[in-house]
Amino acid sequence: MDKEKNSSLTTQLFFALIPLILLAGVIYVLLSGGPTKIFQTDIPPIEKLHVLRHTLEKDTILLDCINSGPDAVTIAQVMVRGAFWYHEISPKRTLNPLETARVLIPYPWNPGEPVGIVLLTSTGLTFDYEIEVASLTPKPSMVAFGRFAMIGVYVGLIPVALGICWFPFLRRLGKRGVGFFLYLTVGLLAFLVFDAVTEGLKIAENMPSNFHGPALLALGLAGAYLVLIGIETRIQEKRGGLKGGILLAWLIALGIGLHNLGEGLAIGSAYVIGELTLGAMLVIGFTIHNATEGIAIVVPLLKEQPKLPSLIGLGLLAGGPTILGCWIGAFTYSQAWSLLFLGIGAGAILQVIFIIMGRQTLSETLSLINIFAMIVGYFVMYGTSLLVGAS
């Protein structure tokens, strides 16, 4: 009996390993033939090819592909706008599951035109990819970095800063006015959560199915929510309660910042591949839409005495990540990142909503005026979002 106690760690380890050893055994038996014959059918291998991203250089189309299916896929030929075209594939034509390859097609594409590409596999299956509007892909350069920073500034930073400028006006409102705007903020934020989830699901649809896009979105959402709840609880315990609205303002700014990071990623990557033309109208739309985010940040501060640097800090935290997102989105592949950050942003915002709504009792929270404020807030976001239909 003593012996057992001494070796308890070893025993524990042994019991932990039993299922793993058995699993390895089962996989070995399956791979060495025998039972797999039961699963063998006449159905040809399932081929899945997914184009992750395209890059357009002068007279050259580059496609980055991934085999997202369970069997090997061989790209035999490539068609551009219905014509077979000379091309090169690196590192090799046959992709095992989850392997990637780059297809280089020298082709005299014309700016502004759509380009349909078909990848023909060795078994004759075809995988279509559509470049919606051909345009030169910007290369990472100081000029390009500057241009994408400007997009981020216009779409993220300036609007949030403008929203924060409502602070003096909001302060002069009475207690009831502040309460109204607090619940208006809940409405604004609720729209952002809904928007992030629907946009995330849209992105997830275009991802290889084995990346389980919706699960990734859920990971970001639930993860951020739980982590922030944890942090907030810790700070509350430490300080003996949530002190005023400053912490809440920072949490809102963080949530909106994460959301804007995801939005920046989506804008950057869509702009680069020509799916989004950032015309003046769209930038104006984003500016108006995101200005409402600034209001959400400052509302909890109406009873506080925030200093100018902390207001600037809040603005940078909420709006700055758009610039970062634009850079990442423009220069690297970013569907998964976009999805994850949209999820994280949604989770963070959700947590803020619960903090605001949990400050009072349920009957106080759900007073008619508050419900009205929430609906108005949601509708303001909805109305301004009509200006940014493409994002």
């Binding site: 990637t100 005299p108 078994t123 982590v227 315990e237």
Partner: protein, 346 residues
Amino acid sequence: MPKLDLSRLPFFLSFLSVLFGGIFLLTATFLAGSVSAIVPHTLPGLNGLDLSPYRMDMVGDVDSSRLNPDKYLTDTLPSSRRVLPDGRTLRIFEVYAVNKEIEIAPGVFFPAWTYNGQVPGPTLRATEGERIRVIFKNLGDRPHSMHFHGFHSADMDGSHLHQLVPPQGTFIYEFDADPVGLHLYHCHATPLTQHIHNGLYGLWIVDPQEGRPPARELYMVMNGFDPNFDEENEIYAVNTVAFHYNRHPILVKQNELVRIYLANLLEFDQINSFHIHATFFDYYPTGTQKKPRDFTDTVIQGQAERGIVEVRFPYPGDFMFHAHKTEFAERGWMGHFRVLPEKASK
């Protein structure tokens, strides 16, 4: 001031590690593709023009030891001959249906249904008035038949359900070689489009008794393939393999008479066309009349339409021939004649 509760720390730590581990894995996978860079080749042209973006072409070549369009161009199916009691010639062909995977374009494999293991099926050729006997064995895995264009009795039509030849079955078709001309044979089993599209067709030629003027004779079947079964052809060709005669030009001599037996066996598309560069040709629809209908450089054929092209190339050099339905040309229906100078080739 209450102490920080550390009991829940492991939960957060493990959560964070899963989160960042996942992010790392995803990034690694996604960025892997963009790491490998390819340096494009350049192809120098006139005045330093880089020709590399203009290569409408496929990459690689097919294994022609399994299916050779060059042999198809000139080969006919060997036959045995017997003299019947009434003095007529009985010509006997042996044809079998068999499933075979063929390479229809470099690296693209198609599970074809074939006559004698080739697509198009072997060219059957006889002289007007001969009695024809075709011993057909079905070595495939589903019912097939042979349906000949030409005069024959109802029981030799090979088109009705009760005329289907079961797997491992045999049927003997007998009829007279009549009328003179370029005809077809194909499987008439259902579903009809699939049986024809999958490769069960070939040329059936009846020569006039006095023969045709001596010429270099070539067999060309314009066909196409729908390897992804969307009822549209992805690959077009003459004699099955896309761009084959681009990679392997057909050698002919300057001013020599070239006779092309041309047929359109395309499924899914309404028409096909045939165009030769830098020369004109006499066109005899179905090869039944002695006078050409056209003197032209382009001819259009509907499904199962066929005709004889008689052409001479006045200049040496490389000359394209292709469907002037240009999207077919861009999808494989294009080739070259290499015309050798008259003096050098003698």
